[in-house]
């Protein structure tokens, strides 16, 4: 596997920031509220190490919106929330009073899927544009599980490279944290570094 340098990480950060900027713009249109999205941290790791990065979700249920993609780069991107955070996010978008005891029913799961879909599409769309990559996409899906079951729910059995970007949604008074994950199929991480290197050389960012 090629080594990812600080320079590469800076470029990835910039791409992700452009993506979340686009997502925030779309979400602002959806509820006429000032939504701020920020990505304070980006990490490169692998699926074996991933549980360490998701420690804070260990004792809670998580809600995940997943989108698979195939191309020169293949894998899936995921937006992960603690289910309670997901409830709060949905309640703001639907202007609905959801209490802690209320279940995160299927209709609310669909609503979260749409919100997550907007964020994921903006991010993966930006990556696709900047790295000049054409992807074929799978149908988005929603998963509710525990961190322990997260990888098996995503049919991940072997060690895969992961990019993890903590994403903060700041809406009204709420500050909701989610995780944007890019889980690459074998070999795709090398392709990513190659494509980033190309962007770096061309200076197209």
């Amino acid at each position: 596997m090629s080594l990812i340098t600080d320079e590469h990480i800076d470029i990835v950060k910039e791409i992700v920031n452009i993506g979340v900027g686009k997502a925030a713009n779309l979400l602002n249109h959806l509820i006429n509220e000032n939504i701020k999205l920020s990505v304070p941290n980006i990490y490169f790791t692998n699926t074996n190490e991933l549980p360490k990065f998701l420690m804070k979700y260990q004792d809670v249920s998580i809600s995940v919106v997943n989108l698979g993609f195939k191309g020169e780069l293949s894998g899936s991107c995921q937006l992960l929330f603690a289910t309670d955070g997901a409830k709060l996010l949905v309640s703001i978008f639907t202007d609905e009073d959801i209490t802690d005891e209320d279940e995160f029913n299927e209709i609310r799961q669909h609503t979260l899927s749409e919100i997550g879909n907007i964020v994921l599409n903006s991010l993966i769309g930006t990556i696709s544009n900047i790295l000049s990559q054409k992807f074929l996409y799978r149908t988005p899906k929603y998963i509710e599980c525990s961190v322990a079951n997260f990888l098996s729910e995503n049919d991940i059995v072997e060690v895969q490279d992961v990019m993890l970007a903590t994403t903060r949604f700041i809406i009204q008074e709420a500050n909701i944290t989610g995780e944007f994950l890019l889980i690459f199929e074998t070999g795709s991480m090398d392709t990513l570094i190659e494509k980033i290197e190309l962007v770096n050389q061309k200076g197209t960012l």
Partner: protein
């Protein structure tokens, strides 16, 4: 311009399908979508999607669909956030719920398009709404029961306290009667006529106090059991107040207190004569009790919107702010001696509150320590 469905297999699936080109012109509208939208295929194909659903021209939707048309990832649209997209024409908007997925769809001649699959989740939505309604109702019921339980517990505690206060108040005059009569029996031969008369007056006063207390207690107990019927009739308030002033003329005269009825002579109000007379008598009696010799009491009535406000004002000793809240509370009832050491039952104001409540009115006090008190109550102009 297309005139018919070009992709006929879509007519054999149960999910609503619509295909548009990059300009939103409808290329396909399957049978399932006809049912969901109440729009016929022949009316849809060839038209523009935003002709039927203008929300497709909203900036956010244009941006998202443009990405899809150009090969971007599929976009989800739910009825939670996009109520009008593919909304049925005939059915009520509130009872449908669709999940829409827009995916990239290559058209003939290398043109790009988008395919919308529309899944009807209305049944699920209705069940969830129904479940939430039932759950909310059950929670409300639980909340209501908790409040009732709390109120009942509080009332019970208040009544326990009240009973203990009353027992104490009854014991005092009884103690006087028993003690003085014992003394009289034992010392009968040693006492002269005047001394005997003094002691008999003491017994008489205590028995009067006891009688008043028991009368009030019984009236209150009846009012608690709703055994006192409210006999509403149009009555002259001025006349009623005059009668009550006459009944209290003796104690007022003994303290040289002027009691002035300032109510207009033609004030006719619907009220229960007995109940209101008890209220007014109690309030004037209290005013006399807590006013110094030579003081003044004024009784007035004003019409205020849809109720009358009656006030009994004195220039007596006034009430401490911390005591004002307790006056009408059953658990706080206590008898206070008047300026000339007059006694009372401590039940009068509680009865007043009950009787005014029966009239759907309110009673309260305004007072300044050392300057006097004004007791006010309201009676609605019409009581249903």
């Amino acid at each position: 311009m297309p005139t018919r469905n070009k992709i006929s297999p879509f007519n054999y699936i149960a999910i609503g399908i619509c295909v548009i080109d990059a300009h939103y012109q409808i290329q396909c509208w399957n049978h399932a979508l006809e049912v969901l939208t109440d729009i016929k295929m022949e009316d849809a194909v060839g038209r523009y999607l935003y002709d039927f659903y203008p929300d497709f021209q909203k900036t956010i939707n244009k941006m998202r669909i443009s990405d899809v048309v150009n090969g971007g990832a599929p976009s989800i649209f739910t009825s939670s956030l996009n109520k009008s997209l593919f909304a049925p024409k005939k059915r009520l908007q509130s009872v449908f719920y669709y999940d829409i997925l827009a995916s990239h769809f290559p058209l003939e001649n290398d043109e790009n398009g988008a395919l919308f699959s529309v899944i009807d989740r209305s049944n699920l939505y209705r069940k969830i709404v129904e479940f939430k309604k039932t759950k909310d109702q059950a929670l409300k019921e639980v909340e209501y029961r908790k409040t009732v339980e709390k109120t009942l517990k509080h009332e019970n505690e208040s009544k326990d306290k009240f009973i203990s206060i009353m027992a104490h108040d009854i014991r005092n005059p009884l103690g006087v009667i028993q003690g003085v009569s014992d003394f009289l029996i034992k010392s009968y031969g040693d006492l002269d006529k005047e001394e005997v008369l003094d002691f008999l007056e003491g017994i008489n006063n205590s028995s009067k106090t006891l009688n008043d207390l028991i009368t009030d207690l019984l009236t209150w107990a009846r009012s608690q059991r709703n055994n006192i019927e409210l006999n509403l009739a149009d009555n002259n308030l001025y006349d009623l107040v005059n009668e009550d002033i006459r009944l209290l003329a003796q104690p007022a005269k003994s303290k040289s207190i002027t009691v002035q009825n300032n109510i207009a002579k033609d004030t006719i109000i619907p009220f229960d004569r007995n109940m209101l007379s008890t209220v007014i008598r109690n309030l004037i009696s209290n005013a006399i009790k807590f006013t110094y010799n030579g003081g003044n009491i004024f009784i007035e009535c004003q019409e205020k919107g849809n109720y009358f406000e009656v006030s009994i004002k004195d220039d007596g000793i006034g009430i401490k702010p911390e005591d004002m809240q307790k006056l009408f509370l059953i658990g706080e009832s206590k008898s206070t001696k008047g300026t000339n050491n007059e006694s009372g039952t401590g039940l009068g104001l509680i009865l007043c509150k009950e009787f005014i409540k029966n009239h759907k009115g309110e009673i309260w006090v305004e007072s300044e320590l050392g300057k006097g008190s004004t007791f006010k109550f309201t009676i609605p102009i019409s009581i249903s």
